[in-house]
Symmetry: C2
Subunit: 339 residues, 2 copies
C-alpha cells in the first residue's frame, strides 16, 4: 500500500494522502497482513489449502485512452472502477475468483486530488468485488507522459478450483450463447471514439442519447459481472466457457474460448444495443462490421451453455439474453451485420 | 500471455511476435496451465498446500524515467531485467519467493522490434528467477505518451511460509547491517541523472569510469539478489529484516523495516561505491546528503543480523559487506555524510 513515489506534496498532498489511505482501508479484508508489507503487500492464503487443487489466475491490463476522455471531463473516479472491473471480468471469464488487486498510476505531473479520486474509485470497485488493494504505485514522470495525460494499469490475482476451470472441449454445436449487457463501450474503442466526437461538448444533453450527455454515456464505468457470477455459482450454473468482450469485439474475443472446428452465430436484434453505439456510428459514418470489430455493442460478456442450462440461466438472471448458438465451422458471424 | 493489443503489424510485427512468443516460452515452468488462459494466465498452485501457512505477497512497480535514457541509448533489453529484478528484490525483502510475473508496456507508438527486445529482457530475467511471465499487456496510446517515450510496469507475485516472514520485532540494538552491492543506480534517481548528464555522449569512453561509457554504467540492469537469497536460505541464514534500497536511498528505505525506537548507523568507506556515483556528484555538484537521499550509493540491499549470524553470512557470501549497526534512536545516520 505504498504511494511513496507519488510526489504528492504539501497540504493538498496530505489531504489527498489521507483520502487515499481512508479509501484503501475500506477495501481491506481480514486476510491482509498488516505490518509485513514494507516492500510488498501480503495476503494470508491459508484458505487455498482447502482447495482440492488450487490454481492461481492473474491478468494485467490498462484502460486504454479512456483516460484522456475522463481527464477532459474531469471525472476520474470512474476510471478506477473501469480498471478494477475490467480485471474482474477477465478473471471471471478465465474461471477465477478475486483474491487481490494492485494498481499502477503514472502521469507527467500528479495532481494530488486527481490521484485521490482515482484511487478512491479503485478502492470502491475492489471493495465491491470483496478483494483488497494489496499494492499500488504512483509514478510522476515528466518527459514520458504528455501534459495532463495519465495512464493506469491494474493487476488482478484470483483463485480457482482446477476441476472448475472453463473447458472449451465441453463446448458442442447447438450450445446456446447468452449475453450479459454492457454499460456502453466499457474500456475499448476510445481512440476511435475520440476521433469521432472531436471537440464536442461532453456535458450537453444529447437528444439521440435520451437527453443524457456524452460524458454520462461514454464514461459509464466498465461493468463487473461478479454479482451475476455469484448467483450462477450458487445455482451451480457456471458456463462451460465465457468470453469477456473487450478490444476486437465479438470477432476477436469469442473465438478465443471455442475449440477448433466450432464457431458461433449471433443474431443482431436479439439483445439491446445501448444507444451510444448508434450515435457513434452515425456521427462517424462507421460501417457496422467495424463497429462490431471495435466495440462490445452491448455484449459485455458471452456465456456458453447446453440448451437446458441456458433456459435455467435465463430464468435466474433477468438481464441475460439469448443471442446466438455455437455452430460447426469457425469464426463468428453476426446475422444482420455479416449477412 | 496476450500481446493482442500490441498494434504490431505486417512482417516486422510477425517477426517481433515470434521473438516475443519464443522469449516467453523460455520462462515457462511446468506449473503454467496452457490453454486455460484466454483471459488470464493460470498457474497450478498445488504446491501451496504443502505450506503450513502460506502467505501470498505481491508488488507492482515501474522503472521510472530510466526508460528515457534506455530509449535514447537504444538499449531496451536491460529495462526488462530492471523491471523483473526490481520486483524480485522487493519480494525478497518482504520475505517472499517468486511465483510469477506480469508486465505492462505502453508507448505512443509501439516499435515491434523494441517491444520484442523489452519482452526478451523480461523473459530472460524471469527465467533466471525461475518464474513464468503469466501475463502481459502492451498498449499503444498516442496522446498519452510523448513521442518515442515508453512506460513499463511489472507485478510480481510470490509466496512465503507465514512463520518465515521478516519480523522487525526481532531486531535489537547492536545487530549488524550487511550490504549486498548494487550494479549502479539500479532504477532510481534517473530524473536527476538525466538533468546532470544533459546531452553528453552516452557511448564515449569516460576516463572517470575507467574507460566505460555512460550507457554502460547508467544502464547496467538492476541486480537481482535471488542467488544470494537462495544461498542464505540453504544455510538457514535469512535476515531478520531486509531493506531494498530504492527511491529515497538508505534514509527512505532502511527505517521501513526497523521497529519504533531503533535506528541505524552506516559507515561510509565500509563498502565500495561504484565510480558512477562520484562521477554524477562531481558533474552535477550534488551534495553528499542529496546523493544518499536519491541513490542507493552501492548499497543494493541491506540485511540485518545478530552479530554471530552476520559473521557466518560474511563467510558465506563473498560480496556481502558489514556496513553498520542498529542503534537506539530513530532514522539513519551515515557517518562521513551526516557527520
Amino acid at each position: 500500500m505504498e504511494y511513496r513515489d507519488a510526489g504528492v506534496r504539501l497540504e493538498a498532498a496530505e489531504e489527498a494522502t489521507r483520502r487515499i489511505r481512508a479509501a484503501l482501508r475500506t477495501a481491506l479484508t481480514p486476510e491482509v497482513l498488516a505490518g509485513v508489507g514494507a516492500f510488498a503487500g501480503a495476503l494470508d492464503a491459508d484458505r487455498l489449502k482447502s482447495y482440492a487443487h488450487p490454481v492461481l489466475l492473474a491478468s494485467t491490463d490498462g484502460v486504454g485512452t479512456k483516460t484522456l476522455l475522463a481527464v477532459r471531463a474531469g471525472r476520474l473516479r470512474g476510471l478506477g472502477h473501469d480498471l478494477v472491473n475490467h480485471g474482474v471480468d477477465d478473471l471471471l471469464a478465465a474461471g477465477g475468483w478475486p483474491l487481490f488487486f494492485l494498481d499502477y498510476l503514472a502521469a507527467d505531473r500528479l495532481n494530488p486530488q486527481a490521484v485521490a479520486e482515482l484511487v478512491e474509485g479503485v478502492a470502491e470497485a475492489a471493495r465491491a468485488a470483496g478483494m483488497p488493494v494489496l499494492g499500488g504505485e504512483t509514478a510522476e514522470m515528466p518527459g514520458v507522459y504528455r501534459r495532463g495525460a495519465v495512464d493506469l494499469a491494474g493487476t488482478i490475482v484470483g483463485v480457482a478450483e482446477r476441476s472448475e476451470l472453463p473447458d472449451p472441449s465441453r463446448v458442442r454445436p447447438g450450445d446456446r450463447i447468452l449475453a450479459l449487457p454492457s454499460s456502453g463501450p466499457h474500456t475499448n474503442g476510445y481512440s476511435l471514439i475520440r476521433r469521432v466526437i472531436g471537440d464536442r461538448d461532453l456535458f450537453a444533453p444529447c437528444p439521440e442519447l435520451g437527453g443524457a450527455s456524452l460524458a454520462d454515456r461514454l464514461l459509464a464505468p466498465h461493468r463487473s459481472y461478479l454479482p451475476e457470477w455469484r448467483r450462477l455459482r450458487a445455482a451451480e450454473l457456471l458456463p462451460k466457457v465465457a468470453a469477456h468482450i473487450t478490444g476486437g469485439g465479438v470477432y476477436g474475443n469469442l473465438p478465443r474460448v471455442l475449440p477448433p472446428g466450432l464457431g458461433a452465430v449471433l443474431r443482431r436484434g436479439s439483445w439491446s444495443e445501448p444507444p451510444v453505439f448508434a450515435f457513434l456510428k452515425n456521427l462517424g459514418g462507421i460501417p457496422d462490421r467495424e463497429m462490431f470489430a471495435v466495440f462490445n455493442m452491448g455484449l459485455g460478456m458471452l456465456l456458453v451453455y447446453d440448451p437446458a442450462s441456458a433456459e435455467q440461466v435465463l430464468g435466474l438472471v433477468d438481464e441475460a439474453q439469448a443471442v446466438g448458438e455455437v455452430v460447426e465451422g469457425q469464426g463468428v458471424v453476426v446475422e444482420g451485420v455479416d449477412g
